[in-house]
């Protein structure tokens, strides 16, 4: 028998098969129980060993070739069918995908996180205190007794209420009884946290105290509520040089530039002595204030940035510390102001409006977690 011819004929017919059904029909025709090649295989049993020796490989070869051709043809046809189906499934991918809402972190929160990160590296813990304060913590303990002219400069919001406690505010007994007032008010600065922390934790201390503060003042650059961060270091042998270094270091880390130049000016705060107002050099770039350089450099000026000084001994005493044993420095700086300087907002009032357009523009991604290793700032 001419197996080669049979094979060629079979392969040709397989190659011509136009669909999977035809391939299956050919499989049955050739390899089914009654199939022609199956029939040839059955003839092997009746053959002599010699015949089997010569015919066998040919028949098996024929069967393998046909099997392979059938499989291959089937794959081709299946592939083509899949392609055809997928071609029918094409969609317009320029259509918009489902959108997950995007949220944001408020700049004040972001900047407070940045500051906490920087100060953590300098060993400052975060402390807090109430915003509804009594006038002992907000004024008296900070060396501003009732008649002190500086009190009037604080534009204080008062409550009609008085604390009805007969013990010292804050549940402590360190404050001399009867020397404090109980008038309730909105804290005008974060400085009362100094007193509370000294009374609660003693010395030595390194803290920052961020939070809301209030002044009865409202115009283009002042809002009745704003944010401050207080810094306090109480230890032995702490002097103005340490204050200057701390402020320089924090501002360099915050603005992420090494050319921060500070100018210290004598000033007056009842709770510090000596008191120091701190200016920083800046220039205008693209109509925007950019911190850096000396204010005496060409094209540069100085701007007031924060108030600070060595803690007044009366304040240490109010905090229950011996001023002959402990000394230290304190500073307070506006968080909103730092945010504006760093991230370029120019309207403080917009901070508190909740306009989602503003929040989406100036806010930060939830993933912009400030880290020292990445630089605390969130770039654009």
């Amino acid at each position: 028998m001419d197996y080669a011819a049979t094979g060629q004929q079979a392969l040709a017919r397989i190659a011509d098969a136009g669909d999977l059904d035809s391939v299956e029909a050919l499989r049955v025709e050739f390899l089914g129980k009654q199939g022609s090649i199956s029939g040839l295989l059955k003839t092997l049993g009746a053959m002599s060993p010699d015949e089997r020796q010569s015919e066998g490989p040919q028949i098996h070869g024929l069967r393998e070739a046909v099997t392979a051709a059938l499989t291959s043809r089937k794959e081709v046809l299946e592939g083509a069918a899949l392609e055809a189906r997928l071609a029918g499934e094409s969609i317009d991918l320029s259509l918009p995908a489902p959108e997950a809402p995007r949220g944001s972190i408020h700049p004040v929160s972001q900047v407070m996180d940045e500051l906490a990160e920087i100060f953590a590296d300098l060993g400052f813990a975060v402390a807090t205190g109430p915003e509804i304060e009594d006038d002992w913590h907000n004024f008296t303990a900070l060396n501003m007794p009732e008649s002190h002219p500086a009190r009037a400069m604080h534009d204080t919001f008062y409550f009609p209420d008085k604390s009805d406690s007969t013990t010292a505010p804050g549940g402590t007994t360190n404050a001399p009884s009867g020397t404090y007032g109980h008038q309730m008010l909105l804290r005008t600065h974060t400085s009362p946290v100094q007193i509370r922390t000294m009374l609660e934790q003693g010395a030595p201390l390194r803290i920052i105290a961020p939070g809301r503060v209030y002044r009865s003042d409202s115009d283009a650059t002042h809002t009745p509520m704003f944010h401050q961060i207080e810094g306090l270091v109480i230890d032995k042998h702490i002097h103005l040089g340490h204050l200057k270094w701390t402020l320089e270091t924090f501002l360099k880390a915050f603005f992420e530039r090494d050319d921060i130049v500070l100018r210290l000016r004598p000033s007056y705060f009842p709770f510090t002595e000596p008191s120091v107002e701190v200016d920083t050099g800046y220039s205008f770039e693209g109509g925007r204030r950019v911190v850096g350089g000396s204010g005496d450099d060409p094209g540069h000026s100085w701007m007031e940035l924060l108030g600070s000084g060595m803690v007044n001994r009366h304040v240490l005493e109010a905090g229950g510390l011996d001023p002959d044993e402990w000394q230290g420095f304190a500073f307070g700086v506006g968080v909103d102001r730092l945010a504006m300087l760093k991230y370029g907002m120019n309207d403080l009032r917009a901070f508190f409006d909740g306009d989602v357009r503003w929040l989406a523009h100036y806010g930060f991604s939830a993933l912009d977690v400030p880290t020292l290793s990445g630089g605390v700032g969130a770039g654009v």
């Binding site: 929160s109 807090t128 009805d164 103005l240 204050l243 004598p266 008191s275």
Partner: protein, 850 residues
């Protein structure tokens, strides 16, 4: 505090420039807020000589001048001044110059057909005086071509912010003293003995040299005893009251030089007597008062006001007085709110002939308290309450007397001194080492003493007492205690730290070198409190879920706050709000008891701006009443989901419909954020009573146990939305973060041991018929608890009502996940578990569907 350069130079001999003076003022703590330098306004104005003056061909009142500006090219200028004439030397404004008086920019122009290349200016146009009758006439030898600003020798005015601790610098003399100490010149010593020096303030104003007041021995001018009795009956409020009468004065206008200085300082000249007292107040920080003797009856006495008394002050307002206030009064009544403001009745007028001068020392605290109570501020109050120099009463009275005699004439009586001012010397012990150990600068003891002496501190003879004998021997080594006497004009100096400040500020804070804070070993330790960490985590979780963080005011309108006061069910610890006594407006009056109203107002503003839907959140404090009248501030987080949940989309098939946020969106936020906060969300119960602010049927609380409310959520009540003028549905979630139980014990990092089970979990579905009002959550909870050993989870996946379900019932389908342990479940075990599930559900009235 405003003062002119000429006034400063009257007390301070200096060659320093305006810029140097300003720099030094800033460096020593007298912050310069503004410098008004008229010479800057005079840029573009030159000295010019009129060469020819001819009639304008077409205008009677105009002349055509040729003017020499010194460069050899005379300019043609049209001028209307009657005094314009050939030979006159005046001031020409060139094109481009800005006329100070009106801001007009000069340019080349044709005036009635004649070209004019500038403007000859009058005194008023250059803001150098009121004269506008003609153009300025300068001396014939004035240098033609010179910039007029150079020639005019104008008088710049400094505006300096004086900190409340420096009453001495509320007078020009005190500022001069500080500048002299800083090495900027020589201070004119007190007392003056009439040595005249210096020139007039400005050549252009041609004012005479101001005569220096003199302090002369009393006998030289005193003529007889003071005819008015002066007493202080309130030695606490008014320890000292000095006075004298000057008879026969003429109260005209004060001299030009005085008016110029007062105007530069921002004071309106009134009359010679009033101006003189103001002048001494501004010059020396020493308030004084002059009474018209004709309006006085009997003795003039410092005493407490009587309750019910009142006085009409110089500002025309009537003030009700009380017995806590010190006043100056006579037999007829109160004439002066002591140290704050004089009375209208006895004030000096044009007709005043005899005056009583008052120079007193008032207790600073009394003045502050009185001023605060009356709501009355004045230049005198601001000085007295900060503390005037108690040692400057006689000198002040002499200066006032001298100026009156010079300018108003009259004869002065002898001085009456009632009481005595607190002039006992105040001593401060000072360790010179403190300049380094507190101030951070090395300053030699020699320099320290130089600075301190220049500021008026003194070292009594035996000022040095040493801690150790050896140190006393080597004074220069500075180890020891110095004893200083504090000048009377420095009430702020209390102790050593103040002395450090004096040395450091005059020596220069620029000299402070940065010194690193000692650093703890190792990497930075965690410094955030658990509350702060929770706050940070939730903030970022809420933002990551698509919400924008807002920061809203802590204060609210009263009605909005009241609408959110938490009733007893939510908060038994107090429901009263904090309400400000002096709010900035009624919209910012009450401290928020919840974050929701502030966020709702923000949502309203956004909706008004066209936002269809928005997701806002805030994390912050709500303000409650605490124990003992203290504040109880609790951290909370609120999410407001307003309006459209998602914009119309091609895929949603809701192209035309409005897909609003609903209570389940709020629940999702609440649960996700509680989970982030570490709350045991699987154990929370969904109960009602979210509050009157909520839709009664679509809101709930999430509780841990029956009492502890961790959160509330749901749709807001339409009536509340109406109050906020919001017309879209709003779903909110409010988390009470203080209610979340904190982790106990120290931080631990290792998790509980766990290995994923070897055998695969299997699921079985159960469908139950239950009463329609049975909460699905209850059924799920009992199913899950039916066989705790085997049931790993139970999840509701269908809530069906309708065909096949009887009326009054619903079908709830629950997928139960069973986790085999060591070996797979066999049929009998599965059957037993199913029976337990069915039995447990049956207790709630649930019947397994066939």
């Amino acid at each position: 505090m405003k003062f002119s350069l000429s006034w400063l130079k009257y007390f301070l001999e200096t060659e320093a420039s305006v810029a140097q003076i300003a720099r030094t003022l800033n460096a020593i703590g007298l912050e310069v807020e503004e410098i008004d330098d008229p010479s800057l306004k005079l840029a573009g104005f030159r000295i010019a000589r009129v060469l020819t003056a001819d009639r304008h061909p077409d205008a009677d009142k105009l002349q055509v001048l040729t003017v020499d500006t010194g460069d050899g090219n005379p300019l043609q200028v049209v001028c209307g001044a009657p005094n314009a004439r050939a030979g006159l030397v005046g001031v020409l404004g060139l094109p481009g110059a800005v006329v100070p008086a009106n801001g007009m920019v000069l340019k080349q122009a044709s005036v009635r057909g004649v070209e004019s290349n500038g403007m000859m200016c009058s005194t008023r146009e250059l803001e150098l005086g009121e004269d506008h009758d003609g153009i300025i006439e300068l001396p014939a030898d004035a240098p033609v071509g010179t910039a007029f600003a150079e020639y005019a020798d104008t008088d710049p005015v400094f505006d300096v912010a004086i900190t409340p601790n420096r009453p001495d610098c509320m007078g020009v003399y005190g500022i001069a003293r500080d500048l002299a100490a800083a090495g900027l010149g020589t201070l004119l010593p007190l007392p003056f003995r009439g040595e005249g020096r210096g020139e007039g303030p400005t050549r252009i104003a041609q004012s005479p040299t101001p005569p220096l007041p003199t302090l002369s021995p009393e006998g030289e001018r005193a003529l007889g005893a003071c005819p008015i009795e002066i007493r202080t009956d309130d030695p606490d409020g008014c320890p000292a009251f000095y006075g004298r009468v000057i008879r026969g004065v003429t109260n005209g206008v004060s001299p030009d030089w005085m008016q110029a200085r007062l105007k530069a300082a921002g004071q309106r000249p009134i009359s010679a007597l009033v101006d003189i007292t103001n002048y001494v107040m501004l010059g020396f920080g020493r308030p004084a008062h002059a009474y018209d003797c004709a309006q006085l009856t009997g003795a003039v006495v410092a005493r407490r006001a009587r309750d019910g008394e009142s006085v009409t002050a110089l500002n025309g307002k009537v003030y009700a007085l009380d017995s806590d206030m010190t006043v100056i009064a006579d037999d007829s009544g109160v004439h002066d709110i002591a140290g704050i403001m004089g009375g209208e009745h006895s004030g000096c007028s044009e007709s005043t002939r005899d005056v009583l001068l008052e120079i007193a020392y008032f207790d600073p605290e009394r003045i502050a308290a009185t001023g605060r109570k009356l709501g009355l501020t004045s230049d005198a109050r601001s000085r007295f309450e900060r503390g005037v120099d108690p040692g400057f009463l006689d000198a002040g009275l002499d200066i006032v007397t001298d100026l009156i005699l010079q300018n108003c004439g009259g004869e002065a009586s002898e001085v009456v001194r009632a009481g005595s001012p607190p002039i006992a010397p105040r001593m401060v012990n000072f360790d010179p080492d403190l300049v380094k150990t507190l101030g951070g600068i090395e300053v030699s003891w020699e320099n320290q003493t130089t600075i301190l002496r220049a500021l008026g501190f003194n070292f009594p003879d035996n000022w040095m007492s040493s801690i150790e004998g050896e140190a006393a021997a080597t004074m220069a080594s500075c180890h020891g205690l110095a004893r200083l006497s504090v000048p009377g004009w420095r009430p702020d100096i209390e102790g050593a730290a103040d002395i450090v400040e004096e040395v450091v500020r005059i020596h220069g804070l620029d000299n402070v070198a940065s010194v690193p804070l000692p650093r703890a070993d190792g990497v930075a330790r965690a410094t955030a409190s658990p509350a702060l960490k929770l706050e940070r985590r939730l903030r970022r979780a809420a933002a990551a879920r698509g919400n924008h963080e807002a920061v809203t005011w802590s204060f609210l309108p009263e009605a909005e706050a009241q609408a959110f006061v938490l009733r007893q069910a939510q908060d038994e610890r107090g429901s009263e709000v904090w309400s400000l006594a002096n709010p900035i407006s009624e919209d910012m009056k009450v401290m928020r008891p919840s974050l929701l109203p502030g966020l709702l107002s923000a949502a309203k503003r956004n909706l008004d701006r066209g936002a269809a839907g928005l997701r806002l959140f805030e994390i912050g404090r709500r303000y409650l009443r605490g124990q003992d009248g203290a504040s109880d501030e609790r951290l909370s987080l609120a999410v407001v989901l307003a309006g459209e949940k998602a914009p119309r989309g091609w895929a949603s098939g809701k192209a035309a419909s409005f897909d609003a946020f609903d209570a389940f969106d709020a629940k999702a936020e609440a649960l996700a954020l509680l989970a982030e906060a570490g709350a045991p969300v699987d154990n929370l119960q969904v109960l009602g009573e979210a509050g009157a602010q909520f839709h009664p049927g679509q809101s709930a609380t999430l509780r841990l146990g029956p009492k502890n409310v961790l959160a509330r959520f749901g749709l807001l009540h339409p009536a509340l939305l109406k109050q906020f003028d919001i017309d879209v549905p709003v779903a909110v979630a409010e988390l009470f973060l203080d209610a979340i139980p904190g982790k106990k014990g120290a931080a631990s990092f290792a998790r509980v041991q766990y290995a994923p089970p070897a055998l695969q979990a299997v699921t079985r579905d159960f469908a139950f018929l239950v009463p329609v009002d049975l909460p699905a959550g209850d059924l799920v909870r009992v199913v899950k608890g039916a066989d705790k050993a085997n049931i790993a989870a139970a999840r509701l996946f269908d809530d069906f009502r309708g065909a096949g379900v009887p009326d009054g019932q619903k079908s709830l389908a629950i997928e139960v996940t069973l986790q085999p342990g060591e070996k797979s479940f066999d049929e009998a075990e599965l059957k037993a578990i199913a029976e337990r599930v069915t039995a447990a559900a049956g207790k709630l009235g649930a019947v397994l569907r066939g």
